[in-house]
């Protein structure tokens, strides 16, 4: 861990220098990452652009305000013999710095409203996934795909064993040793069964909670949505690029809030069709055992079966 630490720190300087201004997107969180991932959907690109625009607008205002402050602090020091003037208002100036911010804010609100309206529109989706948050795992049910009802494909997705071992208090397993096959550090970001989704399909998510409020968040998709018991929220995505996208529960949900990650495995359409077909036939064979498999062994409310 020590030597790994040193290499990490040496890499850091390079990463830091590029991170702030880099336009490259990370698929998953990386050490020294300083900015939002650009993501893999149209919406996530637009959200990323909003982030960049608002960031640079703030930098611009900051340069002006802090610049004037610094000049004042240098030029008008008593120790340098500055004598205070007596004026205390200026109607013209005050009007100007009321109106200019209004214009800047309107300039920010305009694109944001457009992106929001698009992100809220779940119509014309070709697929529906139901997501249910439980303490402390996610359940995914495939409801329909390309206009056809999916025949009982659903499963729970919980923290992978390797992470679970390493996350215990005084564990002998190091979080640094939890890695994917490609060598990516997946501690607390890996699951036993990922949510498999096709690329290039508009997917509608119906999101709800089974016990307390959770929040379903994959940064690369560009949004999070709360999973609330008694309420079904809708959201959508259309993933452009195959890959593995990791996220976490984002609403405090109790003891293991940090241990219910989300992993989306986006695959080409043909591959997804095969995957779905295989699971549909499994489901018909295995109907009884599937319905009996309640997560966590707890009694479930009616909402769970859906």
């Amino acid at each position: 861990m020590k030597s790994a630490g040193i290499t990490r720190w040496t890499k850091a300087a390079l990463a830091m220098a590029t991170a702030l201004f880099a336009t490259a997107a990370w698929a998953n969180p990386e050490a020294w990452q300083m900015t939002m991932p650009e993501g893999v959907t149209q919406s996530s690109h637009e959200v990323y652009n909003l982030f960049l625009i608002s960031f640079w607008v703030c930098v611009g205002i900051g340069i002006v305000v802090y610049g004037v402050m610094v000049i004042a602090m240098i030029r008008f020091r008593k120790s340098k013999g500055a004598v205070a003037e007596k004026w205390s208002h200026n109607a013209k100036l005050e009007t100007i710095w009321t109106i200019i911010p209004v214009l800047i804010l309107a300039g920010l609100a305009w694109p944001a409203s457009g992106v929001l309206t698009k992100m809220a529109d779940t119509t014309d989706s070709a697929m529906t996934i139901k997501v249910t948050g439980y303490q402390w795992l996610w359940r995914y049910d495939y409801i329909d795909y390309m206009g056809k009802q999916v025949d009982k494909v659903g499963f729970v997705s919980r923290l992978a064993k390797s992470s679970n071992l390493a996350r215990q208090l005084d564990s002998s397993h190091s979080p640094w040793d939890v890695k994917s096959k490609s060598g990516y550090h997946t501690y607390l970001l890996n699951v036993d069964k990922p949510l498999v989704l096709p690329v290039g399909v508009k997917i509608r998510f119906l999101i709800t909670g089974g016990d307390v409020i959770h929040s379903w968040w994959v940064p690369d998709l560009g949004w999070k949505m709360d999973a609330i018991p008694g309420i079904v929220n809708a959201a959508w995505t259309e993933i452009k690029k195959p890959g593995i996208y990791r996220g976490q529960c984002a609403e405090l949900c109790g003891k293991d809030h940090s241990a219910m990650p989300i992993v989306v495995k986006a695959v080409p359409k043909a591959q997804f069709n095969r995957w779905l077909a295989a699971h549909e036939s499994d489901a018909t064979l295995d109907k009884v055992s599937r319905t009996a498999k309640a997560p966590d062994g707890k009694a479930k409310t009616a909402g769970h079966q859906g």
Binding site: W9, N28, P29, E30, A31, W32, Q33, M34, M36, P37, E46, L50, F51, S54, C58, G62, Y66, M69, M73, K78, A82, V83, A84, E85, K86, W87, S88, H89, N90, E94, P101, L105, A112, L169, D170, S171, S174, P175, Y187, V212, I213, S215, G222, W223, K224, M225, D226, I228, P229, G230, I231, N233, Q248, A250, L252, C253, G254, K255, H257, S258
Partner: protein, 538 residues
């Protein structure tokens, strides 16, 4: 001078003798103000200790110090204690001390109620802190107490709700007292639009408190009946709605945010002109901006809930309303900068803290504008980006303003000058470490680290370690504040003058230092040149 007569008559009856009569039974605004400030400082260190434990656990990935449940107890209690125990009582303490002296009143309008509002606070916090000893542990559902999670907590919930009620009654009575004092006890000639900005900021804050604390009391009472009396206000299985709690809570919670920042605006608006030796720029605009922010604060609550699945129309409305708040807030920032322009600046400790406030509160405002954009908030919500944002406005905002106020008025309270050198050391260590602490948290949030987690992916390790180091230094540096105050009160040899600061204006600087136990038993004659904002032409 008017005050001369006041003091001649009243030096003879000073503070009552004996601990119980002087403090437990106190009706004196200065003594009660002192007790509020000591209480606030105590809570600041208790809440701060929790923060140190939190940063200790987050120092490295993996769990080293505690189980996740205890971590959740710490984050919940840290929030409750810092908000209700440290920040709010500090402002009430400052208001108690300064408002009567600033408006030329003999004391607060309702001195006995003043005593009661203070002494309810230790009771409330004993109730809250005692939950650590309960079998069910301290509350661990976050300071926002969202159901259904909070209702899973066991009997600690009853203690939590009782705490909110007692602390709420205390704050409501404090607010009533401040409104009564400001509206009824001003010396003749102290017109509303001649009052110091600090008094204005407190008048508006007090109305916010009156308006929203009963709402919080209502929300938690519904939690109580849901838990113990079988109601289903927030229980979906019984026809209730967990989101309704969030609407009610944030209808309190957003004005609460301004309750914690408006008095800070007031303090900075006193300090910047004093050390710029120039009148406050745009006094009236400053008052209207305060009122405008307070008004808007009732219409933006749902920006804390952009991801609960609101209809698009609601999200658009709350986005626009939230962005609108940036306008009056901007006016305040521009006016502070304009106050400095062509002034004659000196940089004593209160000014340093006030300038750090302007810079760093503005930084928190920038992330606030970024958070207001709903689609982007879908990414930021519930991440460390939000944690960074509200700690910039609450620590480098509210807490820095409180520290500025303590250094600014301490010579008036104690009659001694604090050590400028030690004050500056405290300032520079604090301002550097606080940025090491909070700035990297922006990056963590953007990279995808959720808030309220005791453990995280190793990608977040480096910035968390930096943040924790900053946190430990910042926490330790606050011991210097205690040292500086104790040293000033008991050991400093340099006596303070009446005026204390060359550029100070306002009635509080016309009474001796230390301020006698009773001031303005006879209303002072207001001379316009003495007005705090130092300008009478508007």
């Amino acid at each position: 001078m008017a005050h001369a007569a006041t003091i001649d008559h009243h030096e003879d009856h000073g503070a009552p003798k004996g601990f119980v009569r002087r403090w437990l039974m106190s009706t004196n605004h200065k003594d009660i103000g002192t007790m509020y400030l000591i209480f606030s400082c105590t809570m600041f260190f208790i809440g701060g200790t929790f923060a140190m434990l939190i940063r200790g656990e987050l120092f490295e990935p993996g769990l080293q110090l505690m189980q996740p449940v205890f971590f959740n107890e710490l984050t919940t209690m840290h929030g409750l204690i810092m908000i209700f125990g440290a920040i709010m009582p500090a402002f009430v303490g400052l208001g108690n001390w300064m408002i009567p002296m600033m408006v030329g009143a003999g004391d607060m309008a309702l001195p006995r109620m003043n005593n009661w509002s203070f002494w309810l606070l230790p009771v409330a916090f004993i109730v809250l802190l005692s939950t650590f000893l309960l079998p069910s542990g301290a509350p661990a559902g976050g300071w926002t107490m969202y159901p259904p999670l909070t209702l899973q907590m066991g009997d600690t919930v009853a203690f939590l709700i009782f705490f909110v009620h007692i602390a709420g009654i205390s704050s409501i009575m404090g607010a009533i007292n401040i409104i009564a004092t400001i509206l009824n006890m001003r010396a003749p000639g102290m017109d509303l639009l001649k009052m110091p900005i600090f008094v204005w900021s407190w008048l508006i804050t007090a109305f916010l408190l009156l308006a929203v604390l009963p709402v919080l009391a209502g929300a938690v009472t519904m939690l109580l009946t849901d838990k113990y009396f079988g109601t289903s206000f927030f229980n979906a299985a019984g026809g209730g709605d967990p989101v309704m709690y969030q609407h009610i809570f944030w209808f309190f919670g957003h004005p609460e945010v301004y309750i914690m920042i408006l008095p800070a605006f007031g303090i900075v608006s006193e300090i910047v002109p004093t050390f710029s030796r120039k009148p406050l720029f745009g006094y009236k605009a400053m008052v209207y901006a305060l009122a405008c922010i307070a008004f808007l604060s009732f219409m933006v609550w749902a920006h804390h809930m952009f991801t609960v699945g609101l209809p698009v129309g609601a999200e658009l409305f709350f986005m626009y309303a939230t962005m609108l708040i940036a306008v009056p807030t901007g006016v305040k920032i521009f006016n502070w900068v304009a106050t400095m322009w062509r002034g004659s600046l000196s940089f004593e400790t209160p000014m340093l803290f006030a300038l750090a406030f302007v810079v760093l509160f503005t930084l928190g405002g920038f992330s606030g504008i970024m958070l207001a954009l709903v689609p982007a908030d879908f990414q930021y919500q519930d991440t460390y980006f939000v944690v960074a944002h509200f700690h910039y406005v609450l620590v480098t905002g509210s807490a820095f303003a409180i520290m500025a106020a303590v250094y600014y008025w301490l010579p008036k309270w104690s009659g001694n000058m604090y050590s400028e050198r030690m004050g500056k050391i405290h300032f520079w260590i604090s301002v550097i470490s606080v940025n090491v602490l909070y700035f990297p948290q922006h990056f963590l949030g953007l990279a995808g680290m959720p808030r309220r987690i005791p453990d995280y992916n190793v990608a977040f390790a480096d910035f968390n370690m930096i943040s924790s180091i900053g946190g430990f230094v910042f926490g330790a540096a606050q011991l210097l504040l205690v040292y500086n105050v104790i040293h000033c009160v008991y050991f400093a040899r340099k006596r303070a003058t009446e005026r204390v600061w060359e550029g100070a204006h306002g009635l509080e600087w016309t009474v001796p230092s230390p301020a006698p136990h009773h001031t303005f038993a006879m209303p002072p004659v207001i001379e316009d040149s003495q007005l705090a904002h130092g300008d009478t032409t508007h």
